[in-house]
């Protein structure tokens, strides 16, 4: 195997070749490190540590030679810069954590390492995972003198989506066969859709939140981003598992092999089509690609069932009350005392807090902290926060109603394809409105994924969103994998890479 082709292999195939010793983990790591350096203009990577990467690769080769290697031995992966890592800087895209070095690895990072995965580096994300475009970045990417938005490999004048935009861009550009991501309101699914890759957010509580820098704790969930559903299934199997002592909301659900049911046939599968996902806000090009995917499912023996998720539109205000409320509490730890940025000049402790936070946080983070603090304050708590939590239950109940008529739900991930860099940068509300189709499943804590479904305006990728009931990740991956047996959208790659 010529090493120039390594980046074209699926993760599953790469893992097989590593097991069969057709290629070594060190050779693989070196190949991808070279690609990362050659594509720095995308701004996807924010930190590398070649020594640490190659040490992990050598350990994988030793385990492979000894015959006691894990399922992902030698497989390179990039981690979203929201997971803390001992061997790499962790910034969460914020000046607040510039130069921060964690004393420990996040649970997701150590679980993947235990399976043999080799960390290539850290990839860019919106500051504290707050954003839908990966434009809210306050730390420079590798090879860039100043902070810059991540570029979409399909069209470098466009955003890759967010907040896991660096993860999506890196996978789409074949700089890594896979990357970790996190999804609070769509941050895995939307960038996966915009960059033409596959990503899954599992059921809330499946993957440990230990060492994942908290944004909105009742919504945050980690998941894999890769090119195919099969690759995601392999990664998700390693990422998920109970962590009761370190994550208070970790689910007591056993580790699963999510590849188990990939090849199940879809005869008789009932796919729910929520009419609210196909209204006038949906761009015609996105609709055409989604409709074509649904037709393909019918050919595979599935039945389309009209359903209703009547509170879809309400999920926007509900999410943008609950998430900032939780963020305002979570981000209070950034006060310049124990770690991270501290202002240089101050008069007293309060002044130090104020200046540290005013300097350390970017505008979007400040907006959400202020909104969150406001909706939690006396006199507004009932009208905003509690009201949002009540509607959150109604939204979750709507899904349970829907799942009485269908096995999975399908629709668009986002109303449009990826927009131009800067197009919505000064209009936060426009960004919030574009999250409409991913927020409902987030609020309900349901597993959801994005599967490449074709191309829209500007030849930009379109993702099909699949939503399953609680703990039905295996079913979702099966449904996605079957589509990928009859379509090749997940195999297409951007030009110039």
């Amino acid at each position: 195997m010529m090493s120039t082709e390594l980046h074209q292999l699926s993760l599953a195939e790469l893992a097989r070749q590593l097991r069969e010793k057709k290629v070594s983990a060190v050779e693989t790591a070196q190949h991808f490190l070279g690609r990362i350096r050659a594509h720095e203009t995308l701004g996807a990577f924010v930190d590398m540590n070649e020594e640490a990467t190659l040490a992990q690769a050598r350990a994988a080769d030793t385990a492979l030679a000894a015959g006691n290697a894990g399922a992902l031995a030698g497989v390179p992966i990039a981690h979203k810069d929201i997971f803390v890592t001992k061997d790499f800087a962790t910034t969460a895209g914020s000046k607040m954590l510039a130069g921060y070095r964690s004393p420990f690895d996040a649970a997701v990072v150590s679980r993947l390492a235990a399976a043999g995965a080799v960390t290539l580096g850290k990839v860019s994300c919106d500051e504290f995972a707050m954003g839908s475009a990966n434009e809210n970045v306050a730390v420079p990417a590798l090879g860039h003198p100043a902070p810059a938005p991540v570029r979409n490999p399909w069209d470098t004048s466009r955003i890759p989506g967010g907040s896991s935009g660096g993860s999506a861009a890196a996978v789409a550009a074949r700089l890594a066969p896979a990357a970790s991501g996190t999804d609070t309101g769509g941050s895995i699914r939307q960038p996966a859709s915009f960059c033409g890759i596959t990503g899954i957010k599992p059921t809330y509580g499946r993957a440990s939140r230990y060492g994942m820098i908290a944004y909105a704790s009742s919504l945050d969930q980690a998941g894999p981003m890769a090119r195919s559903a099969e690759d995601c299934a392999l990664l998700l199997s390693a990422m998920c598992g109970p962590d009761p002592d370190r994550d208070s909301t970790s689910l007591d659900a056993p580790t699963e092999d999510f590849t188990r049911s990939l090849n199940d046939k879809l005869d008789g599968l009932r796919i729910g089509i929520p009419k609210e996902f196909f209204g006038e806000g949906l761009a015609p090009d996105v609709r055409a690609a989604v409709d074509a995917a649904l037709k393909a499912y019918e050919k595979l023996g599935a039945k389309l069932v009209p359903i209703s998720l009547p509170r879809t539109e309400l999920s926007i205000p509900v999410y943008y009350i609950i998430a900032p409320a939780e963020a305002s509490s979570n981000l209070s730890r950034f006060d310049g005392v124990k770690f991270g940025h501290r202002a240089k000049d101050y008069t007293d402790l309060l002044d130090m807090y104020k200046k540290t936070r005013a300097q350390g946080f970017g505008d979007e983070v400040k907006r959400r902290i202020m909104i969150g603090t406001y909706v939690l304050s006396h006199g507004y708590y009932d009208a905003y926060y509690l009201q949002a939590q009540k509607i959150r239950r109604m939204i979750a109940d709507d899904f349970q109603q829907a799942f009485q008529q269908c096995d999975v739900i399908a629709g668009p991930v986002a109303p449009t394809v990826a927009w131009k860099i800067g197009e919505k940068a000064d209009d936060p509300v426009a960004n919030y409105l574009a999250d409409i189709f991913t927020l409902p499943a987030s609020l309900a804590g349901l597993p959801g994924m994005s599967v490449p479904a074709g191309f829209g305006a500007g030849n930009m990728p379109v993702g099909l969103q699949l939503i399953g009931n609680y703990l039905q990740e295996g079913k979702l991956l099966n449904v996605a994998h079957q589509l990928q047996q009859t379509t090749d959208f997940h195999l297409r790659q951007p030009g110039g890479i």
Partner: protein, 73 residues
């Protein structure tokens, strides 16, 4: 920033009109389908002393203590 935050509260208005009488707030999403109780772990020391590593990224440390401006005169 004020204009942007006011713009945000415009989209929140539609939420306030929803009749939610008799609906319990949902704090943990899986409480939709199952009883979710927050776990308590045993009150025992589980973390080893790792002070040096934990203070490595601190802005100001002296003799193992975090330094802050004087609070009490």
């Amino acid at each position: 920033m004020l204009t942007q935050i006011n713009g945000f509260f415009d989209i929140v208005e539609q939420m306030r009109a929803v009749d939610t009488s008799g609906i319990e707030p949902l704090a943990h999403p899986l409480a939709t389908v199952a009883e979710v109780a927050l776990r308590l772990r045993d009150d025992v020391v589980s973390e080893p002393n790792n002070r040096e590593a934990n203070q490595k990224s601190a802005p100001a440390v002296e003799r193992g203590l975090f330094l802050v401006p004087k609070v009490i005169e």
